[in-house]
């Protein structure tokens, strides 16, 4: 299975999905007009990965901005992760948010309510970076 490495643009995030290490990361901004085009390949990849996941899978979201159409796909990705988790494979999601970004925190909390996989909220302080 191939890994996915996508460099971010002003509208789409960096993506790094590595099937060898089980480390998956989406970071940057996700505000495309058409989220389907961008996220569909990621969902298909996860379907394949879910049939043969690593012992431990860690998915990290480090988003600056996202639009509402992306949020539905982010949930779609989390539902794929949930399947891996419910099948008994060790897996975890980390949701990074800026200490001052109440909306990013709120969205993380919302997503936590919808899916059963554990989501850890990780606070970052950009001013200290």
């Amino acid at each position: 299975m191939k890994n996915i490495e996508i460099s971010g643009t002003s509208k789409t995030p960096d993506v790094s999905f590595d099937p060898e290490s089980g480390l998956l990361e989406i970071s940057g901004r996700s505000i495309p007009e058409n989220s389907y085009q961008f996220y569909e390949p990621l969902l298909s990849w996860l379907d394949k990965y879910a049939s043969e996941p690593k012992e431990f899978t860690l998915l990290s979201f480090k988003l600056d901005y996202f639009n509402t159409s992306s949020s539905m796909y982010i949930l779609g990705i989390l539902k794929k992760m949930e399947k891996i988790f419910l099948a008994g494979h060790k897996s975890e999601v980390k949701w990074y948010y800026d200490i001052d970004d109440e909306d990013m925190l709120q969205t993380g909390e919302d997503l936590k309510q919808i899916v059963k996989i554990p989501i850890e909220m990780v606070e970052i302080d950009q001013e200290q970076v």
Binding site: T68, M72, D101, D103
Partner: protein, 181 residues
């Protein structure tokens, strides 16, 4: 004749960061968002406010774009395609985003019905509605998720004024005024 003093005074007194009117496309939205992002990065705006302004701006522009771009090929609909507008201004700690576009009678009814369901909701109810709408079984294959207006209400803590004004028998002007602080 254009009165330079008058124009400058309007821009100055209203603290206008950006004003735009005309057809929208993906590249233009990109430029507008980058411009505002960069302007806010240079000012002393708090991260939470900056993020809200940019996110709400994106939602508004993409809402307008998804609706009006359906008519891009139709010359008779040119007035609607060219109608989107946006004014972003700043007053002390608050930002005001005034935006809108022409809508057909069908769209007017659709929006009124949609807004009836969400404008009177409390923050908690809005939150529950958002989660319920997000958690659908089918993902949108084109365009928006239909969640934009709900998101604007949430992020602005319901400081939004939606309005419709009849232009003629073909169109109404749908406007959204949002205070972000």
């Amino acid at each position: 004749m254009l009165d330079v003093d008058e124009v400058y005074n309007i821009l100055n007194e209203q603290n206008i960061l950006l004003a735009h009117r005309g057809a929208l496309n993906g590249d233009l939205i990109d430029v507008i968002v980058q411009l505002i992002d960069s302007k806010l990065a240079y000012s002393q705006v708090r991260v939470r406010v900056k993020k809200k302004v940019v996110n709400i701006l994106v939602e508004c522009l993409q809402n307008s774009y998804h609706y009006t771009s359906k008519f891009h090929e139709d010359e008779e609909m040119n007035r609607l395609v060219e109608s989107p507008f946006l004014i972003l201004s700043q007053h002390n700690d608050a930002f005001f985003l005034f935006t809108g576009n022409f809508v057909t009678p069908d769209r007017l009814n659709y929006l009124k019905e949609k807004l009836d369901k969400i404008t009177d909701l409390s923050e908690e109810e809005l939150q529950a509605f958002y989660i319920q709408s997000l958690n659908k079984d089918t993902l949108p294959t084109s365009g928006g998720a239909g969640l934009g207006l709900v998101d604007i209400l949430r992020r602005s803590h319901r400081n939004v004024n939606f309005d419709f004004k009849q232009i003629d028998e073909h169109y109404s002007l749908f406007t959204i005024l949002i205070e972000i602080k």
